[in-house]
């Protein structure tokens, strides 16, 4: 484990800690997928997580909104500790939005209903208000005209943008992205990345697992490199792409660049 300290960009210096992970461990049977992951992510920070396949990137961010339960260490999101406490789980689920590689839109609901689901049933908003919010968000991701279609009728890029709108509809404080562009055709990747860049500029705290190096370079405040369940290296994009300290990082970079 090496340096996991916050990149001290001016932009974030005064911000409070949004996600704090302390020695997070996770086993699948007798296979240890996370080995004492420790990291702190500031409010409004954009962190890109890189690493070879099977290194535990997905597992880590899935632990952060408790799609997987971690088995050791602490995870604190926005001051709330993730534990067996039902109240905290509920709270964190509605504070943390997540976007999946496979979109996971609800195929039996229209786009509009997909987006209004959380405001109505989780945030307990009146329907009219929720629909207004949904339209605003669809506007923001650039597909207001598709509101009454079913997910199956949309292209992959459009589906992923709906998924982002669906997560944003909860008004989360943190957004997690697990390879949001990996299932997309190249021409659709840009439209999704544009939406994510917008979000980042709007000051959303984001944790992104991606293989889009351009995105990482341009948007990330910090890049975390993982391998076999450990954080190997962490630092600003310039540091990471120009003079990484660790051998493993160099190897990884030489393979993908």
């Amino acid at each position: 484990m090496t340096d996991t300290s916050v990149a001290d960009t001016d932009r974030l210096s005064g911000n409070k800690d949004m996600i704090v992970c302390e020695g997070v461990n996770k086993w699948f049977g007798d296979f240890q997928a996370l080995k004492g992951v420790t990291a702190t992510i500031k409010e409004q920070e954009v962190v890109v997580v890189l690493g070879p396949s099977g290194s535990g990137k997905s597992t880590w961010i899935r632990c952060i909104n408790r799609l997987e339960a971690h088995q050791g260490g602490t995870i604190i999101v926005d001051g709330v500790e993730l534990s067996n406490d039902l109240r905290n789980i509920e709270k964190i689920r509605s504070e943390v939005g997540m976007v999946f590689q496979q979109f996971n839109l609800f195929p039996h609901l229209t786009v509009r209903d997909n987006v209004t689901l959380a405001p109505i049933w989780v945030r307990k908003r009146p329907r009219a208000e929720a629909e207004q919010l949904a339209m605003d968000l669809l506007e923001r991701v650039g597909i207001p005209e598709q509101a009454d279609k079913y997910p199956g009728q949309l292209s992959g890029g459009q589906q992923q943008r709906v998924a982002i709108a669906r997560s944003l509809a909860m008004e989360p404080r943190v957004m997690l992205f697990d390879e949001p562009t990996s299932a997309l055709d190249p021409e659709m990747i840009k439209e999704v990345l544009d939406v994510m860049k917008d979000l980042a500029r709007g000051g959303m705290t984001m944790m992104v697992v991606t293989h889009e190096m351009g995105f990482a370079r341009e948007v990330a405040d910090r890049i975390i490199f993982m391998e076999s369940g450990e954080i190997v290296e962490s630092g600003t994009p310039e540091h990471f792409f120009t003079n990484p300290t660790e051998e493993r990082t160099k190897l990884f970079l030489s393979q993908i660049l």
């Binding site: 020695g23 260490g73 406490d85 039902l86």
Partner: protein, 511 residues
Amino acid sequence: MTTEGEGTLAGMQPKRVPLYRDATVVKWVTQVIALLLVLGALFFLVEEAGANLKAKSIPNDFDFLGINPGFNISEGIDKDPNTGGRALWVGMVNTLRLAMSGIVFATLLGLAIGIARLSDNWIVNRLASIYIETIRNIPILVQIFIIAVLLGSAGRLVGDTGPINGWFMVSSKGLAVPRIFPSDGFYQWLVVLAIGTLLARAVRKRRVTHQDLTGAISYPNLWFGAVLLLVAVVGWFVHPVFGFLNNLFNEIGDAWGSIPQSGAKLVLAAGAVTASLLWIRRFLNSKRSPAGLAKLTDDDMFRMIFAVIGGLLVAFVVTIGWPGLSSWIINSGQDFWHFLGDKFGDGRTGNPVDAMRPTIVGEGTLLNYGSQGLVMSPGFAAMFIGLTLYTASFVAEIVRGGILAVPKGQSEAAAAIGLNRAQALRHVILPQAVRVSLPPLGNQYLNITKNTSLGIAIGFADVVNVGGTVLNQSGKALPVIAIWMLFFLCCSLTISVVVNWFNVRTRIVER
């Protein structure tokens, strides 16, 4: 029950969560409450039923199993049983007889119709589809009634001619076909056959090796069949040489019978406990990891607890709860060996297998079948025909579905690597079709077994019918119903196990 959050490497203890908010606690408390509600409801129902039964002075015990039932059974291995238990046993045997013949014939007929359904001949195809669409949309009970009526109205003998006179007869007294039965030297001949099989397998193995080594086609299966046939024919005449087994089996039986009862109990109980402990050890081993056992889920704990309880329960039952069990095992083991012993020696030189044609006794309207042939009573015949026809329509659909489920690309691929049509069917299509069809086929076998219970509607002496008579005479409803259900559960379980076994096998064959 908390299995999470323990053993934190970073050394920090998670803060205590109030119990009512702890996910694990809530999860388990909810389940325990649900369990209690279900158990409570059951308890109250049983309590209430017991009280009401007592109020109506309906006894609720199993005494009837041991006393004379006071009725005769129309067909079966014992038409005049001397205890209620024996009567039910006769019914069970009848049920099994019906179920097994139904399964065999429904499979054959269903196979034929399912293939006919895929035929490119219009008439054959149409006939098969009319058959399926008609039969499977009419309740089986109605069909059984119709068949029973039709059989009943076949007053005179029909079909008593044919290739061999008397090979098949129909009348209102039922169906009759020749009876093939094991006779004098059957068991001795079985021993010859067993040896023959070993021999034939050895020969087959050699042929296979030969083929592998030289590449010459050496027909291993043909050789296998030929050797077996040869041994069977020779054995038909020489089987008396195995008469000496008589003594051997009797000796074993005596030895078995002299096992002390307490010893048997101890062995059984120890076996049960060891089995459960071994299971747990294997289970834990499969979960063992460098980080110890802290990661067992609630589910795993639950399984282990049940394994322990199960083992102890069995141990308790065999030692204290049911002392009769061990002596039963000793006695029946002894009986079994002596029974085997009786089948050997003693100047048994006759044919191993014999056959007899049915005969007719009586005249005019009093005509009846003699005891020679294999006579199916009208009830059995109606049930058998009804179940076979009905289930065959489902089997046919399963067969068709199974064959259609094999993608077209498979037969094309088979053709591409140069297999001919028969080889493609044998090595490519059928193995896959069988794999798809087996589970639903197993379900149909289960259905046949359960549908035998309709025998009560037309007076076939199956277990439900016999139980119904017992119930009417003794009024002991709950015990009888419990016996019915237990019996059918055992049948279902057996069939599932067998089907599963085949299932696993075909899956391995496929790989």
